[in-house]
Symmetry: C2
Subunit: 114 residues, 2 copies
Amino acid sequence: MVRKENLVVKHEIRGGTGDVYMYHILEENELMGHGTLYARVVLPPGSSIGYHRHVGNTEPYYILKGSGIFVDEKGERVPVQAGDVCVIACGESHGMENTGKEDLEIMALIINEG
Amino acid sequence: MVRKENLVVKHEIRGGTGDVYMYHILEENELMGHGTLYARVVLPPGSSIGYHRHVGNTEPYYILKGSGIFVDEKGERVPVQAGDVCVIACGESHGMENTGKEDLEIMALIINEG
């Protein structure tokens, strides 16, 4: 069965700045208890996902397009670009900022702890 | 922690045609028992992922770029493009073909049955 992605616009997500466009691929019930989010996420220039902690799950970010700053589990600011995979362990924190001039597109998958 | 995607080139995958470029985001152990594959998959023009069944898991395809044909659970050939989500239930079959002139890029996530 083929359907369209499901766009939800979020404002100042996780304490970040600006609007973030979340194109949901699966809804939470479709992850069948294994996770809670599977989406392509678009951050326009200047927008960010605030620094937040993942308790009982993790959320790898995968950079599809653009560039920005990944704030890692130590709070360090790491420049990232397409092809980069940003991982944290369950219980750790992260954030993402679009510091570039083009949209920053990432894949977000929240999977539960094993 | 930031690292690069992990490229693995597959030939005639699942009985399909040509080469398919799999950019792994997580390795199987990192899915912590919830699934077996999380990758961006690039099909050059003329290549395909052969029709195959998912027993005990499912694999939504999400179209990032390009166009092609999704072969659904009934064997029907459905034209797809960026933003389309191709879902099957656990136990059902699917395939994907790049019938266009540009690369077809999709996200593949194999998650276990609930």
